[in-house]
Each structure stands twice: as structure tokens, then as C-alpha cells.
């Protein structure tokens, strides 16, 4: 069974799957044309697998922020693969591309896009640079976990940015979970200490900790984050069970340095790729996954409470290039019309 056939079957599967696919379509694909017709369009555009085809593919991927190194590697692999399998027809090369991209992403490892829960209290620490959507993601994640029947508590660890505590408070109210907080400007490590204690005594299932946004090259702030991490591990052995790095899909190559530095300081276990409902693709996560072995666990597809979806590499990869090719086509059409 070809890759796309598999994908198609997946889309046509159960209702829940359908719903999440809709979200992806809304978020990622934007255009409402059906999946099959899209493939047909692609095939129609390129009848031959030649250098032009590769070049355009390369550009599409570069424009999705996949990054030069990864794109070059991928192109080499693809050329080899196409030659080996003797693919001439574009309808077949599509599947080779997607397979290869997913392969680069997964690099033979098992896909982990779920939260790892501990036996007792599970602590999730949210980290990232300024303005990527940490607090919003926490709100959505709390909603999601609550719907799964978990009891959730939030910790307002961003004591620095004006209005950050209030922002988390509003999310707490919306979702219907409590928020442990202190006054603005207080020591974030102290907030965490309080929150862990509260979580233990209330016997909740999950504690999600917000932290202030910080640029990864600010040594003092990264040290502060390390301290927060330390306090949590001291209070709950094995915690934080998940350290989620929020990455803005609009971010370019700097995301790699972000992932690397945050991983060094807090042992990041997964990425939440936010703002994927825009036109940016966040293609750098491919490189992050293959170089740093950090998987994407969730994607943010909007501002509503249920706009957080588990990451699906196949759907993501499809969105990476399919829409890019579409847009390219559209632009050409517009040009021709003028």
C-alpha cells in the first residue's frame, strides 16, 4: 500500500480522526480543496521527475524554514532514492518524498507524541523564549488533560512579565482549574515550591508550571530556569516528567539554538509547535528532531481552548510541501493573470 493511500485511509477513518484532520486542514492547509484532488494537482504539474522538479521542491522546503543543511541532505537522499527505485512518474515520487521526510523526522525512533504520566503526581514544565505562546499552550493543555479526566493544577511561574499571572489566571478560570500564584516579582522557584506542595497535598494528577519567557543567550535567566528545574526535582523525585519547549512556527533557524540551549539547561522532553495556523510552517523542527532527538508532541492551531492537537508527523510533512507547491502555483497564476 502506498504512503498516500495509507494517509487517505487514515483520513477516511473514524470520526475522531476526521475531526482532528479537519483541525489540521483548517490550520495547516487553509485551502479547502480535498486531499485527493490536491495530489492530483501536484501530479499534474510535474509529469516528469527532473532537476526542475527537485529545484522547486528544494525551494518550497527552504521557504518552510526547514534549513539549508537538512534540505541538502534530503535532496541527496531523494535523488538517490528516486534513482534506485527508478521512479519517473511524479505520482510515485510524492510518496517517496513524504516517506523520506517522515523518516528524517523519526529517524527510526518510535513516535512519542503523548504526555508521559507518572504513577502519582505528574509535573509538566513549560519553557521557551518570549512571546511564543507558553501561557496560552498551558491553558489549552490543561483543558485537554481535564477532558481526559485528569485533575490539573497550574503554577504561575512567570512573575516577571507584566500581566502574566493574570493571563494564566484567566485561563485557569476558563478551563476550571486552580492556579497557584504569588505576587508579581517574587522568586519563581519559590512559586514552584509552593505549587508542588499544594499539588501533593491536594492529590492532583498533573501540575503544569508556567515560566517567564527568556532568550536563550541570557545566562542569568537560564540559570534561574535551572534553579526552578532543580526545585521541582528535589520536591518530586523524577519530576518534571515532561519539559515542553514552546516554539513559534514563525521562528526561523534560531529555533535550533533555542532547542539546544533549553535542552542543556532543562532536559527538554518535547516541543509544542505554536501558531501553526498562520502561513509559517516551522520546518526547523525536522532538523531539531533529527539532530537533537526532541520530538514535537503538540501543535497549536488557534486561540481557542481546543486548538491544541497531538502532533502527527505524516500530516505535518504533507502540509510542509503540498501547500507550498499550491501557493507557488497560485502565485504563478496571478502573475499570468496580470
Amino acid at each position: 500500500m502506498s504512503f498516500f493511500k495509507k494517509l487517505k485511509d487514515k483520513f477516511a477513518g473514524n470520526a475522531e480522526q476526521e475531526q482532528s484532520t479537519e483541525k489540521y486542514k483548517e490550520g495547516l492547509a487553509k485551502t479547502r480543496t480535498g486531499f485527493t484532488s490536491k495530489i492530483n494537482d501536484l501530479v499534474a504539474k510535474y509529469r516528469k521527475v527532473d532537476e526542475d522538479f527537485f529545484e522547486e521542491l528544494e525551494e518550497v522546503l527552504l521557504q518552510a524554514d526547514v534549513g539549508f543543511e537538512t534540505v541538502l541532505e534530503l535532496m541527496d537522499d531523494l535523488r538517490f532514492e528516486v534513482q534506485r527505485k527508478n521512479v519517473r512518474d511524479t505520482s510515485n515520487v510524492q510518496s517517496v518524498i513524504s516517506e523520506k521526510l517522515v523518516e528524517i523526522y523519526q529517524s527510526g525512533e518510535e513516535e512519542l507524541n503523548e504526555i508521559k504520566f507518572a504513577d502519582g503526581l505528574t509535573v509538566i514544565l513549560m519553557v521557551g523564549v518570549n512571546g511564543v505562546g507558553k501561557t496560552t499552550t498551558i491553558g489549552k493543555l490543561a483543558h485537554r488533560l481535564k477532558n481526559e479526566g485528569k485533575t490539573v493544577l497550574l503554577a504561575a511561574g512567570d512573575t516577571f512579565r507584566a500581566g502574566a499571572i493574570e493571563q494564566l489566571d484567566v485561563w485557569g478560570e476558563r478551563v476550571g482549574v486552580d492556579v497557584i500564584k504569588q505576587a508579581a516579582g517574587s522568586d519563581p522557584a519559590a512559586v514552584m515550591y509552593d505549587a508542588v506542595r499544594a499539588a501533593k497535598s491536594r492529590g492532583v494528577d498533573v501540575l503544569i508550571c508556567d515560566t517567564a519567557g527568556r532568550l536563550q543567550n541570557k545566562v542569568n535567566l537560564m540559570n534561574e530556569l535551572e534553579k526552578v528545574h532543580r526545585v521541582i526535582s528535589r520536591e518530586v523525585p523524577g519530576a518534571p516528567h515532561e519539559v515542553l519547549l514552546a516554539l513559534d512556527a514563525t521562528t526561523g533557524q534560531n529555533a535550533m539554538i533555542q532547542a539546544q540551549t533549553f535542552k542543556e539547561v532543562t532536559e527538554v522532553t518535547g516541543i509544542v509547535l505554536t501558531k501553526l495556523d498562520g502561513t509559517a510552517k516551522g520546518g526547523i523542527v525536522l532538523a531539531i528532531r533529527s539532530k537533537l532527538k526532541i520530538p514535537v508532541k503538540f501543535v497549536g492551531l488557534g486561540e481557542k481552548m481546543d486548538d491544541l492537537q497531538p502532533f502527527d508527523p505524516q500530516k505535518y510533512v504533507y502540509g510542509l510541501f503540498a501547500e507550498g507547491l499550491d501557493r507557488e502555483e497560485q502565485l504563478e497564476k496571478e502573475k499570468a493573470d496580470k
Binding site: N217, N254, A255, I284
Partner: protein
């Protein structure tokens, strides 16, 4: 995982050319490919890169590169000049309305830093232009965005106009402008909600706010870390509401900031300000040349020099020089020096501004331990006045006392004393050199070996 700068990238091509004595067209082509790589890694949009490389190629194919003895440096120079020129033009001039009040609109994607920049801009307008700003909280969507602006207003003691979140941003803006007129506040800065450029409803809302009173400035606030998508964002905002300038935020990070070039190219609108930190006064004027260096990974020497200039007292520097010459440099002077270095900001940030710093082995991940500086200070503070001026008298007993007093060990004290002596020796040599107008050869032992 710092990316290679253009200069380093070109080095590879250069060694190939070196033996040949002549630069061929193919060599230029090779170099242009490196330019392309470097720019894409700096997040300049692919289409912008293509256009740019084409333009530079034409210049590079001209005689100045082909006949140059140092073609690599020539290419770097041409690229940098072109970049600077592209991003250049009018800077931080702000259009003020002759009819009060001046209206400034802040727009952009979510999380770009609009609210923070709104506060910084108001502070700057008050300080440098003597304006009386009014901040308008028109972000009714994001939770606590209104509180955020209110808090910032309180920090700056600048009035904030807010009407909660149950009323439309258009009405808020309209009332705010009336309010400003009544209160004789001459500059209204409207903080709008972050929105996706493809969200038609919200883009319409911006048009509606705009039509209340034609804003004198519409600033697009863009995160400096933005990747390829920067062109789409800038173009969409510009087409929908017509931006007048750009503010680039989070430039205190370690991103190359290629988005600056992309945005400038597609909108032709000037980048007026850059956000350089989380403090309310961290809004600087945009310098095209520095941005060009940064995009090319060539370090930011100018900013460093400027930082030193603003923080180092000229008069004190002269006194210090005199002390070096006469060898009367004491621990008190040393303390003062430490304080000045500290004022320049975190040391590792300063290090990062040095060109090629990421190339020096061991320095690429250099994290300067500032607590070490604190320890040095503590040791000096534990000395008596006499010990500070004549450290020769510090004997074993005194060392023990100093170590106890500063909470360090005798070894720490010994190390500092040794360092201080070495420093004095070195300074004497260096200042001696200066007075003789550099006629004497540098007589630092082993220095020539150091760079081999």
C-alpha cells in the same frame, strides 16, 4: 551550534582560489553560492536572497573582484555594502501631526512584542521628543493584555486608556482619541491585539481603527527571530492597512535577524527601532550597517564600542592611564575597573559581539562566571586601606584574615595577588610602548608564539 558567518564560509572558496592567482567567473559563482547559503541561514527570505544575489553577482563579476588580490574580502565588502544600502534610508524620524493628537498604531502577529514595545516607545517619545503620550489598551482578546499595558503604564507613570474587554477595539480607540484631546495629551499610542495576517475579520478591525483618524504612524512590530514567513506577514499587513515603519524586537537574542532584510525589501518601509532587552528603556535606533554585519555573522563591533563609550568615563580613563605609567595602580583602581566592565552588561554578551568570537576555540560556549567577579570584589573589600595601596605587605597572616573575611580560601587570595602583579607588569609595558610611539617592539614574552 552557532552558524558560520559569511566570511568563514568564503574562506573555503578562498583557499581553492589562492593557488591560481586569478579569479575566474566560476570562482565568483562559487562565492555567490556561499553568499546564498549564508543569507538563507540568517533567515533572509529565499526570494529576497535570489534577487539580492543576482544584484551582487553583477557587481562582483565586475573588475573589482576579479582583479583583487583579496577577492574574498572584496565579496564580503560588496555584500555588506549592498545590504547596508538596502536596509538604509531614513531612520527613527517620527511623523508628528500638526493637529493634536498624533496617533500611532502598533500592529503585528501574536507574541511579537507589541505591548512591551508600546511602553518602550512611549517612554522614548516622552524622553527624547518631550511628548505627553497616552497608551491605549485595544487588545480585548488576549487574556490580561489590558492588565499588562496598565502595569507598564504604572511602571513608566504614563496614563493608560482602558475600557475593559467588553467593548470593541474600534470604540476604545475612538474614545481614547477624544480623551487625549480633552486631557491635552499630544500622542496616542494604540496597542492592538496580535493577529494572524490571514485573519480577515481581525484585519478588517485594524482598517476600522485606522479610519477613525488617519494614524501618523503605523508600526509593524516583528520578532527578529522570524524566518521565511516574514515576507508574507509584512506584505499582508502592508497591503491591508499600509504600515509606515517597522520595529524589530528581541534583537538582544542571538538570531542573525535576516527578517530585517526580507521585510525591508518587500515593503520598502524603514525599520525605525529595534528592541534590545526587557527593560523599558531598551529601544534603540536602527543601524543598517550593524544589522548588515549581524546578518553576515561579522560581529557587532560598533555597538560594543558605543557601549564602552557610554559607560566609561573619559576623565577616569585618563587618570587610569597615568596610573599605569607611574605604576601607582592600586586595588582600589582595580575595583573601579571591575565596576565599569560590569556596567557594560553581562560579559558573555559583550564577548558575543566580538567578530569571530564564535570561532575561537573554547570561546564559542564561553559563559563568563560573574560570581567569580563577585568573589574578587569580596577579597578586595576585605583588605585594609594600606593593603590595597601596597599589596607587598600582605603576608601569610594577612592572607588568612582576608580569606576569612571574604569567605574565600587562601589560594583564592594568592591567585588574585598574582594576577594583580601580572596585570601591573603588563600595563607598564603597554603604556611604555605608547609613549615611545610604538617604536619599540612589543616585549611581551611568548606573545608571538601565541598567535602561531
Amino acid at each position: 551550534m552557532a552558524f558560520e558567518g559569511l566570511a568563514e564560509r568564503l574562506q573555503g572558496t578562498m583557499t581553492k582560489i589562492k593557488g591560481k592567482g586569478k579569479v575566474s567567473e566560476a570562482d565568483v559563482k562559487d562565492m555567490m553560492r556561499e553568499v546564498r547559503f549564508a543569507l538563507i541561514e540568517a533567515d533572509v527570505n529565499l526570494k529576497v536572497v535570489k534577487e539580492f544575489v543576482k544584484k551582487v553577482s553583477e557587481r562582483a563579476a565586475g573588475s573589482d573582484v576579479m582583479e583583487s588580490l583579496t577577492p574574498g574580502q572584496q565579496v564580503v565588502k560588496i555584500v555588506k555594502d549592498e545590504l547596508t544600502e538596502l536596509m538604509g534610508g531614513e531612520q527613527s524620524k517620527i511623523n508628528f501631526s500638526t493637529k493634536q493628537p498624533t496617533v500611532i498604531m502598533m500592529v503585528g502577529l501574536q507574541g511579537a512584542g507589541k505591548t512591551t514595545t508600546t511602553g518602550k516607545l512611549a517612554g522614548l517619545l516622552r524622553k527624547k521628543h518631550n511628548r505627553k503620550p497616552l497608551l491605549v489598551a485595544a487588545d480585548v482578546y488576549r487574556p490580561a493584555a489590558v492588565q499588562q499595558l496598565e502595569t507598564i503604564g504604572k511602571q513608566l507613570t504614563i496614563p493608560v486608556f482602558s475600557k475593559g474587554t467588553d467593548i470593541s477595539p474600534v470604540d476604545i480607540a475612538r474614545q481614547a482619541i477624544e480623551h487625549a484631546k480633552a486631557e491635552h495629551l499630544d500622542t496616542v499610542i494604540i496597542d492592538t491585539a496580535g493577529r494572524l495576517h490571514i485573519d480577515e475579520n481581525l484585519m478588517q478591525e485594524l482598517k476600522d481603527i485606522r479610519s477613525i483618524k488617519e494614524p501618523d504612524e503605523i508600526f509593524l512590530v516583528v520578532d527578529a527571530m522570524t524566518g521565511q514567513d516574514a515576507v508574507n506577514v509584512a506584505q499582508s499587513f502592508d497591503e491591508a492597512i499600509g504600515i509606515s515603519g517597522v520595529v524589530l524586537t528581541k534583537l538582544d537574542g542571538d538570531t542573525r535577524g535576516g527578517a530585517a532584510l526580507s521585510i525591508r525589501t518587500v515593503t520598502q518601509k524603514p525599520i525605525k527601532f529595534v528592541g534590545m532587552g526587557e527593560k523599558m528603556d531598551a529601544l534603540d535606533v536602527f543601524h543598517p550597517e550593524r544589522m548588515a554585519s549581524r546578518i553576515l555573522g561579522m560581529g557587532d563591533m560598533l555597538s560594543l564600542i558605543e557601549k564602552a563609550q557610554t559607560n566609561v568615563d573619559e576623565e577616569k580613563a585618563k587618570q587610569l592611564e597615568e596610573k599605569f605609567r607611574t605604576s601607582s595602580f592600586t586595588f582600589d583602581d582595580f575595583l573601579e575597573q571591575l565596576a565599569q566592565v560590569k556596567q557594560m552588561g553581562p560579559l558573555d554578551e559583550i564577548l558575543k559581539m566580538l567578530p569571530g568570537a564564535n570561532k575561537i576555540k573554547g570561546l564559542e560556549n564561553a559563559k563568563v562566571d560573574e560570581s567569580q567577579m563577585g568573589r574578587v570584589e569580596a577579597i578586595i573589600y576585605s583588605m585594609t586601606t594600606q593593603e590595597k595601596t601596597t599589596p607587598e605587605i600582605i603576608n601569610a597572616n594577612r592572607k588568612k584574615r582576608i580569606a576569612r573575611g571574604s569567605g574565600t580560601s587562601i589560594q583564592d587570595v594568592n591567585r588574585l595577588l598574582k594576577q594583580f602583579e601580572d596585570m601591573k607588569k603588563m600595563m607598564k609595558q603597554m603604556s611604555g610602548m605608547n609613549t615611545k610611539k610604538g617604536k619599540k617592539k612589543m616585549s611581551m614574552p611568548g606573545l608571538d608564539q601565541l598567535f602561531k
